[in-house]
């Protein structure tokens, strides 16, 4: 007999979000939609970081703080023998080191759109640049109402029906289409980020329907609270299948979810946040979920069964100042890992790493941790601060994830989804949506190697095919190499290319026509070649 969802019992900080249950269209499922309460925003420290009381060791791999490029310069004490005249004007207010103060032009807007979305459609970067940094960022982090999908829906050739819940690969197309067409790109990008963070693969779930339901669940929370995201994903059907949640029962405790919840989702490995004993104890708290197998539907009737729940006392973090003990259940388990003092630093650094490829300095890390805690674990609050941070605009570029690269090429060239090829091309370039390679998500180091670069080349080849030039396009005209290069760059959406790249491309475009070639035919070949060289240029794989 199904028992109701157990109430969350662990002591919680005052909630600073309001939530309501909203029925998911066409299903009997509900999802919770949460919005931060306005007064919570007052707590958001935009100025000086607050010192954090607990400072656990850094997340594995986290760096020694380095000076932020935007840190205010150290003032040299004035030479006492040469004192400057007293200031005529009052000193300016202290600079906010977390806020980017430099120019916000088209280049910066392009970078923002690639990091927080899927690159610009024609004209979008200019429009965003005109808004200024803060308004531009807020237009992404504070969207109004439901997302709209702009442009033609998925249309497959030869009358192939589009069947995201059934046909192989159509789940990938379903999401790629949202990435290309949504007018709330940050929501899609964050959904991709948390798909990677809580990486669940259909290879272990075997149900497009459950994977897409999980995707919608993530989407409903990405601008809400991480607390709700963790609780709801823990008992999400795809997750219960993927990490053996329905096999975890009294007297047959299965550690799969409990370990990854701490190692990959909330605390981080090899930093002293938890022990092997904690893995076993947490797994006991997570026990009790089950489902029934029913031919031909697969697993149905997911529910908590108190007969399967290990109701004995569990002890977590034994030997620490924050040791806890009690008859904890799955919901308590989620709350307890989020209250573990190692969680906040893990969350901030991991979220940051999806946007900026260099570590935050200590002050930034501390400020973002405070922001996270004080905002009631608001994801949007931390994302907004990251998107306004100087490091995003002044630091090194980020590798575009393959799905972002793919969606961006389609957006730049004004296309929507009209081919099933994007599925295997996504796989070749290293990112088949709904199929992360394992529970730790995609390995972003693998996104630029000889294997995945070949995938990107193939992907660009497909994206450029509708615009393929022939000699008919060049009949009777003349065109310099410079003009041909300019046309090719504009066709890809006018990305910023380095002088070194431009010089190589210019030299290529300026090569003389071999004897016997027709002018028009040669120019068509040259334009096709230039376009793919631009679309695959190293500068365009990063943003």
């Amino acid at each position: 007999v199904a028992s109701p969802k157990p109430k969350r019992k662990v002591v919680k900080k005052k909630k600073k979000v309001v939530c309501k249950r909203v029925r998911i269209k066409g299903t009997k499922r509900y999802r919770k939609v949460c919005k931060p309460v306005k007064k919570a925003k007052k707590k958001v420290p935009k100025k000086q970081p607050v010192t954090t009381p607990v400072t656990p060791p850094p997340v594995s791999g986290s760096p020694t703080p380095t000076p932020s490029p935007a840190a205010p310069p150290v003032t040299t004490p004035p030479d006492p023998g040469n004192l400057p005249p007293p200031p005529v004007e009052p000193p300016p207010p202290p600079e906010d080191p977390l806020l980017y103060k430099g120019a916000f032009g088209v280049a910066q807007a392009q970078r923002l759109l690639w990091r927080a979305g899927f690159g610009p459609k024609p004209g979008e970067a200019d429009a965003l640049a005109a808004m200024g940094l803060q308004a531009a960022v807020r237009s992404l982090t504070r969207p109004v109402g439901a997302a709209t999908l702009v442009g033609a829906p998925v249309t497959l050739p030869n009358g192939t029906p589009f069947a995201p819940n059934d046909a192989w690969g159509h789940d990938h197309l379903w999401w790629l289409d949202r990435m290309v067409r949504s007018n709330q790109p940050l929501v899609e990008r964050l959904t991709l980020i948390f798909h990677d963070w809580f990486a669940t693969s259909n290879s272990g779930v075997d149900s497009h329907e459950m994977m897409i339901a999980q995707n919608e669940l993530i989407r409903s929370h990405v601008l809400g609270s991480f607390t709700d995201l963790v609780h709801d994903l823990t008992i999400d059907h795809a997750m219960l299948l993927w990490l053996s949640g329905i096999d975890n029962r009294r007297n047959a405790i299965n550690e799969n979810y409990g370990r990854e919840l701490m190692e990959l989702f909330t605390l981080g490995a090899d930093r002293g946040a938890y022990t092997e004993t904690d893995v076993r104890e947490l797994a006991r708290a997570l026990s009790g979920w089950r489902a029934d197998w029913q031919d031909p539907d697969g697993f149905v009737n997911f529910r908590f069964d108190s007969n399967r729940f290990d109701s004995a006392t569990k002890s977590l973090w034994a030997g620490t100042a924050y040791a806890r003990s009690g008859n904890f259940n799955w919901s308590d388990a989620c709350s307890l890992v989020l209250e573990n003092p190692y969680h906040r630093s893990f969350f901030v650094l991991k979220l940051w790493s999806y946007f900026i490829p260099s570590p935050p300095n200590a002050a930034t890390q501390a400020a973002l941790e405070s922001l996270y805690v004080d905002s009631g674990r608001s994801i949007a609050a931390v994302v907004e601060a990251i998107l306004m941070h100087p490091d995003l605009y002044l630091g090194a570029p980020l590798v575009k994830p393959p799905a972002v690269y793919n969606a961006g090429l389609l957006r730049a060239t004004g296309q929507t989804i009209a081919s099933e090829a994007w599925v295997w091309l996504g796989d070749m370039s290293g990112q088949m949506l709904f199929y992360p390679p394992n529970v730790s998500g995609w390995n972003d180091r693998a996104w630029l190697d000889t294997s995945t670069l070949y995938g990107r080349w193939s992907l660009a080849n497909q994206a450029l095919s509708p615009g393929e030039r022939t000699s008919a396009h060049y009949s009777g005209s003349t065109e310099t190499g410079t003009a041909a290069l300019a046309t090719a760059i504009a066709y890809i959406g006018s990305p910023a290319l380095s002088p070194g790249t431009l010089a190589v491309l210019q030299a290529f475009a300026d090569q003389p026509i071999p004897a016997g070639e027709s002018q028009a035919s040669w120019r068509a070949l040259r334009q096709n070649a230039l376009r793919i060289l631009v679309a695959t240029a190293p500068d365009f794989q990063v943003c």
Partner: protein, 462 residues
């Protein structure tokens, strides 16, 4: 535990650490001269000085076709090859070589145990029985023309039960979460050529961290027979020029390390395309007898055999030294272990057997040794339908002249002597010692400088 000081990528955060090149080198700021005699180039220095760890494969510059041919010729030769096959997820040692008559095994595995008589008794230790799906390995064991060394319980002290950390230890050849180059990468750095990416090749969708180097190029592709860059509406002379330009774009210098990584990968891709041009796409030789079921693993092993058998225009074999690939399926059997483990092991073992025959028929098996490994074994006590993460696991070394026998013994399942305090199987051999043996006895190079802090005792493999 030490935390890395100057290393930041998302992957690194996630996994504790992942192999990458460029780290571990002396820090040189942009503008400073490169230390003489380090063999390092400006690019690797910039990468390092930026404090960003990158999976950059070597620091070579793009070569002209002529210089490239010269580099390949220099590197050509009948190199000894190691093919490293990884059983991803933690393969269950107590199913693969099962102590079927041990009363403790029956008690620990009431529903998952392999029944006596289901497979063939392991000749080197009659307490153990080959899983029936491991029969491909058993056939190699029984074949007098090939040697198989079996580690029934291999691991390391203080076993780590995170997939990602333990796998990393095996990949880098050290129990060091911050190590940055792979153990095979360090070998290639010592003996390889700067601009020959094919010397270290992952026949996978991405480069294995085992191959992460500091200075020499390595590569990954599953597509060795058609790794050619073509574009719609581009052919003839224009295609040649386009391909040359693609490679040239990889040689442009970049200030930032991320774009530099993209350029290096592009340069390596252009080179790999040339390097693989002579590898055909034919069928395996008759008699290899690959299993009928088509799997990605079978396809990739067949490609590996073609690669190792291929010759260039001068009639030399290609300068391959290390190949990595993932075994069929996943072995993280928390649930549904009986079926999943059996199916995946069957595909893995039967294809390895066929791959070995393939190499023999191509006449190259005397140059090749296969290593099969997993990041850990699984918990002896089952959880109902599966097993959780454990400690010691299996490894196999296969080769024509490999000394058949055991690497360490099976420790049994008694608490204390066989199982540790957490109820996990104790290791009786150390993976770092095994690596040292492979380096010293197969590759005939010193292990010092490649495998730090290995136990001094070495298994005799040859």
């Amino acid at each position: 535990m030490a935390n890395c000081c100057d290393d930041f990528t998302r992957s690194h955060l996630l996994r504790g650490s992942v192999a990458k090149a460029g780290a571990g080198l002396p820090i040189v700021e942009p503008g400073m001269p490169i230390p003489a005699g380090t063999g390092l180039t400006r690019r690797s220095m910039l990468l390092r000085s930026a404090g960003l760890a990158l999976a950059v494969y070597g620091a070579g510059k793009t070569l002209t076709p002529q210089a490239f041919e010269a580099a390949v010729a220099e590197a050509a030769g009948e190199h000894r090859v190691l093919v490293s096959i990884f059983m991803d997820g933690g393969a269950d040692a107590l199913s693969l070589l099962a102590p079927v008559n041990d009363a403790r095994y029956v008690a620990l595995r009431p529903s998952l145990r392999i029944l006596p008589g289901a497979g063939t008794t392991f000749a080197a230790d009659s307490r153990l029985m080959w899983h029936p799906s491991a029969d491909g390995l058993r056939q190699l064991w029984d074949d007098p023309g090939v040697g198989v060394a079996v580690a029934p319980a291999i691991g390391y002290d203080s076993p780590n039960q995170s997939h990602f950390t333990s796998r990393h230890f095996w990949e880098v050849g050290a129990t060091d979460p911050t190590a940055s180059t792979g153990w095979l990468g360090r070998y290639l750095d010592r003996v390889g050529s700067v601009n020959v990416p094919i010397q270290g090749l992952s026949l996978d969708n991405s480069l294995s961290p085992q191959l992460a180097t500091s200075t020499v190029a390595v590569a990954a592709t599953t597509n060795i027979s058609d790794y050619q860059f073509w574009a719609r509406g581009v052919w003839g002379t224009m295609q040649d020029r386009m391909r040359a330009t693609y490679g040239q774009l990889g040689a442009v210098s970049s200030v930032d390390p991320i774009t530099a990584q993209a350029r290096q990968a592009q340069a390596n891709s252009a080179q790999l395309s040339t390097d693989l041009a002579s590898v055909g796409s034919g069928s395996p030789p008759a008699g290899a007898n690959y299993p009928a079921a088509n799997t990605g693993f079978k396809t990739r092993l067949q490609a590996t055999a073609r690669l190792l058998g291929a010759t260039n225009g001068a009639g030399d074999h290609l300068p391959v030294r290390c190949v990595t690939l993932g075994a069929q399926g996943g072995y993280d059997t928390h649930s549904n272990q009986t079926t999943d483990f059996s199916n995946n092991l069957l595909a893995t073992a039967s294809n390895i057997r066929a791959f070995w025959r393939d190499l023999e028929l191509r006449g190259v098996s005397d140059r090749v040794v296969i290593l099969v490994w997993s990041e850990f074994g699984r918990r002896p006590a089952e959880n109902g339908s599966g097993t959780d993460h454990g400690a010691a696991g299996n490894a196999f070394v296969i080769g024509k002249d490999v000394k058949q026998g055991l690497i360490g013994e099976f420790p049994g399942l008694a608490a204390g002597t066989g199982l540790d305090n957490a109820g996990n199987l104790r290791a009786t051999s150390d993976f770092r010692a095994l690596y040292c043996s492979l380096l010293e006895q197969w590759f005939q190079t010193e292990s010092q400088g490649i495998i730090p802090s290995a136990p001094s005792a070495r298994p005799t493999l040859f």
